[in-house]
């Protein structure tokens, strides 16, 4: 078990290395003079020169990458070009917001998604199944920023059940935290819940048609027991794989949800940085979130091994 985790962790190293190469390499794509692009049109030649000096733009590319990587490994992701705050500090400030949002959404999506999928599989071909299938198709297609706006208007402005935006830290006020995170989490979870429901429906209805299930039925076991004790374990495998892949999607979509609900998370930071073309901040956001996604996927992989004896044996 520990050896498997260690092996997976080691396998991540080259991938993370490549990601750093890509994230850093983005600056090479900036059209024209980088220093000029960063400084903006109104900068004086001295300012441009200062930026060039600052970023060491006259050094060869591998040297610049090596310098950046060495600092990044030590937790120094550079300084924002505009506000001169440390990128690492800014990320540390905002990470709890994004993590709360993503993990609450993920939990919500897994619970609701698998429940809908199982219900649809059990009712396959009937009206309930059709309605749920239509619902999940709509859930996949609905633009989440639009859904967020509708939810805010209805539940925050009209009914006033939830705040329309802002974040309350969990440590300050757990109940307030839950209220502040509910609407954003529902918004973010919708697409993922729909995806998981579709997977669960396909996987569960496949399992329910197998011979061993028929045997259990012939033995006289109650359908609910069959689903819970025997079918679910088998049906869960492909769903867990898909769930792992959804983590990245949640972190991506979280950016726009954070903007709508005025949550100061990493995604909102990234969007602001894109507006300002604040390259170090963009790089820091992308790198941090990607590393987190990879680590969470590792956890999902390991949990897959716990559930599935076939993988565990290797």
């Amino acid at each position: 078990m520990i050896r498997m985790v260690a092996r997976r962790l080691l396998a991540l190293v080259p991938l993370v290395f490549l990601v750093t190469l890509l994230v850093w390499g983005l600056v090479l794509v900036i059209p024209g003079d980088q220093a000029l692009a960063i400084a903006g049109d109104s900068a004086t030649p001295e300012q441009v020169e200062a930026i060039r000096e600052d970023l060491g733009l006259d050094d060869p590319v591998p040297v610049r990458y090596g310098r950046w990587l060495a600092a990044a490994v030590q937790g120094d992701l550079g300084t924002s070009l505009y506000t001169s705050y440390s990128v690492t500090d800014a990320l540390a400030d905002r990470l709890p917001v994004t993590l709360s949002l993503v993990f609450v959404s993920f939990a919500l999506a897994v619970v609701v998604g698998t429940a809908i999928g199982m219900l649809a599989a059990n009712q396959k071909g009937r009206l309930t199944d059709r309605l749920l299938t239509v619902t999940t198709s709509v859930g996949l297609a609905v633009p989440n920023f639009w859904l967020g706006l509708l939810l805010v208007t209805f539940f925050a402005l009209k009914l006033e059940w939830f705040p329309s935006g802002g974040y309350v830290p969990f440590t300050e006020d757990p109940a307030g935290w839950l209220r502040s995170i509910t609407l954003p989490a529902v918004t973010l979870a919708t697409a993922v819940a729909a995806e998981l429901a579709r997977q669960m429906r396909a996987s569960m209805s496949d399992v329910l048609e197998r011979d061993f299930i028929r045997t259990h039925r012939a033995k006289g076991l109650r359908p609910a027991t069959i689903v819970r004790r025997y079918a679910l374990k088998n049906a869960a495998m492909p769903v867990i794989t898909v769930a792992g892949l959804q983590i990245a999607r949640l972190f991506g979509l979280a950016t726009i949800v954070e903007i709508i609900f005025n949550l100061n998370g990493v995604g909102a930071l990234a969007v602001d940085a894109v507006f300002d073309r604040d390259i170090p901040v963009i790089q820091g956001c992308v790198l941090l979130i990607t590393v987190i996604v990879l680590l969470v996927n590792l956890v999902v992989d390991v949990s897959y091994g716990l559930v599935n004896p076939k993988v565990r044996a290797q």
Binding site: L26, P143, L149, T255, G267
Partner: protein
């Protein structure tokens, strides 16, 4: 996309009466026509595309003319979908914005295909170090959350529609790459490839003449799904104000500038949102229908 037009083959829908076995395309058309939702979705996409194409004919007003006296009107006889905060006709703007939304999605998907498919063919057919290097790069790109990567690319280039489409295309490329590579790997071991090689076919001729046509089916499914997601992506980026720039507008940017007026004029938010929802849904349903109508092995078991 034109190859899946259900009207292409006459007499489809019934079993062919001749004893000649039906061609794969005929079989596909016959199956696809049985996928009711997919056929409906196909009609929806055709209608949306026509509406965008014929926008100048269908529009009742100039989409950019501001009549400030008529601002924020609810839908009425003169303005079918009301007017926006500058008194522009929402119905006419929706048609023109649809052009940009659809065109952006087509271009983004095309960029994804242009990058992903040739590299996928190369990796799958040549294998060796080419495959290793390209596959690892694809893994790395795919491990970065898509919207975040797209935003980062927009931030590096310049916030406009072209950047947004390049960004979405780059995000898609690894998906097309993986799919093409996988089908190429599968086809490559077939005996007809060996036969082509043994009669002296060059790699290039074998790839374009034999491998590519056989790897095409899963690509068609992916293209339909990619179109749907590209519309969502473009809408998200333009909603944030980082995509299409005024005076042009897409469904996403129409939504973006009208959120402030939601309470006064909900139609400004509801209408473009529904346009996105319906179009994306249609592309997804087509994708599902095509997948279920294709090939032997990737078909859904029994309903």
């Amino acid at each position: 996309m034109t190859t899946i037009r259900p009207t292409a083959a006459p007499g489809a829908g019934e079993q062919p009466l001749t004893d000649r076995p039906e061609s794969p395309r005929q079989r596909f058309v016959r199956r696809f026509r049985r996928e009711r939702p997919a056929v409906v979705a196909f009609v929806v996409v055709v209608l949306v595309a026509l509406a965008a194409l014929l926008a100048p004919l269908l529009a009742t007003h100039d989409p950019d003319t501001q009549v400030l006296a008529d601002r924020l009107q609810a839908p009425n006889g003169e303005h079918w979908f009301g007017t926006d905060d500058l008194g522009r006709d929402v119905y006419s703007r929706l048609l023109y914005a649809g052009r940009i939304s659809l065109l952006a999605a087509v271009q983004a998907t095309a960029i994804g295909i242009a990058l992903g498919v040739p590299l996928g063919l190369a990796a799958g057919y040549l294998r060796g170090w080419v495959d290793v290097v390209l596959s690892r790069i694809a893994d790395a790109v795919m491990s970065i959350p898509a919207l975040l990567l797209a935003l980062a690319i927009v931030g590096i280039l310049e916030p406009d529609l072209t950047s947004a489409m390049i960004a979405i295309g780059v995000v898609y490329a690894p998906q097309f790459f993986r799919l093409t590579r996988a089908s190429t790997l599968a086809v490559r071991e077939e005996t007809f490839i060996e036969a082509a090689r043994s009669v002296g076919g060059t790699s290039r001729a074998i790839i374009t003449g034999h491998v590519l046509p056989n790897a095409l089916s899963p690509l068609v499914v992916q293209i339909s799904l990619a179109m749907g997601f590209a519309i969502l992506f473009e809408a998200s980026i333009s909603f944030l104000g980082l995509g299409v720039q005024p005076p042009d507008s897409s469904w996403g940017s129409m939504l973006g500038r009208s959120t402030r007026f939601f309470e006064q004029s909900p139609h400004l938010v509801l209408i473009p949102g529904l346009a996105i929802l319906v179009t994306v849904l249609a592309f997804n349903v087509i994708g599902d229908g095509v997948r279920d109508s294709l090939g032997r092995e990737i078909r859904r078991p029994t309903q």
